[in-house]
């Protein structure tokens, strides 16, 4: 009885694991960024000649532009500190990685500093994205050739 009571009190008093807090923050931040993206996509569908599927291209470019401004003014770092993966996983996090590396290494010059370090962080995403796309598309092409699946 004594031991159970102790365990109960300990459970009540010990701080909650930060995982739940981090997850909620990531959900809110990531959700909000995607909501902004949805508004921008609707803007391109309404005022320009884009459809639901093709609108993602200009939307991504616009989001990266916004990420550049937020990064330059030091705001994206604050969003990252609050949102964790919620700020890193959307395409704005990719933009932030590129832009912050470019600004960070500006002092080493435009060719060696900015040019050489721009994809320092984002490079692994591009490398493994391209390689997995290559493998997946290759497998699918071969499967189609042998008549296992169709396009």
């Amino acid at each position: 009885m004594q031991q159970e009571k102790y365990a109960q009190i300990e459970k009540e008093l010990s701080p909650k694991p930060p995982i739940l807090k981090n997850v909620i923050r990531a959900f809110l931040t990531g959700g909000l960024i995607c909501l902004v993206g949805q508004f921008i996509a609707l803007f391109y569908i309404t005022y320009f000649d884009f459809t639901e599927r093709t609108a993602s291209n200009p939307t991504v470019a616009t989001m990266i532009f916004i990420a550049m401004l937020l990064t330059g003014f030091g705001l994206y770092k604050k969003i990252s500190q609050f949102g964790g993966a919620g700020a890193a996983v959307p395409i704005t996090g990719f933009g932030n990685a590129v832009v912050s590396a470019a600004i960070e290494h500006k002092s080493e010059g435009y060719v060696l500093g900015v040019g050489g370090n721009m994809f320092k962080l984002a490079g692994s995403v591009i490398l493994f994205g391209v390689f997995s796309a290559f493998v997946v598309a290759l497998i699918k092409t071969i499967l189609v050739k042998f008549g296992v699946v169709s396009w």
Partner: protein
């Protein structure tokens, strides 16, 4: 009309939750987390699930980095359908060109406009 915004918010948020769990529970570094998500998006498009997912969630599916993997695979497969095996290489960046070019252009413009004060 309003429902696509709610779906985009919830789905986009949930993908970020997966990323956060990969970081907190599976103890992956942020770079490993992003790479895993990109590969996941690429594989999902290979089995044909990502396009219906975009129809369902809109920006909730196209803004997270998983869509980058999807777009790479999608371009490669679309071109492979037309031109055979060589299309896998030639079509790779067909769909996702805007993300890469925007990152390069705005990266340089950002470096021209801003100077690091330790807060970027």
């Amino acid at each position: 009309m309003i429902s696509i915004y709610i779906t985009a918010f919830i789905v986009g948020g949930l993908i970020c939750v997966i990323g956060q769990l990969l970081m907190d529970v599976a103890k992956l570094t942020p770079a490993h987390t992003l790479v895993s998500l990109v590969v996941a998006g690429s594989v999902l498009d290979g089995i044909g699930w990502y396009e219906p997912f975009i129809d369902f969630a809109g920006a909730g599916a196209t803004i997270p980095i998983t869509s980058f993997g999807n777009a790479l695979t999608h371009g490669a497969m679309a071109e492979a359908e037309k031109h055979g095996l060589i299309g896998v290489v030639t079509g790779m960046f067909e769909v996702t060109s805007s993300g890469i070019s925007a990152a390069i252009i705005f990266g340089l413009i950002g470096a021209l406009l801003f100077t690091s004060k330790g807060n970027v």
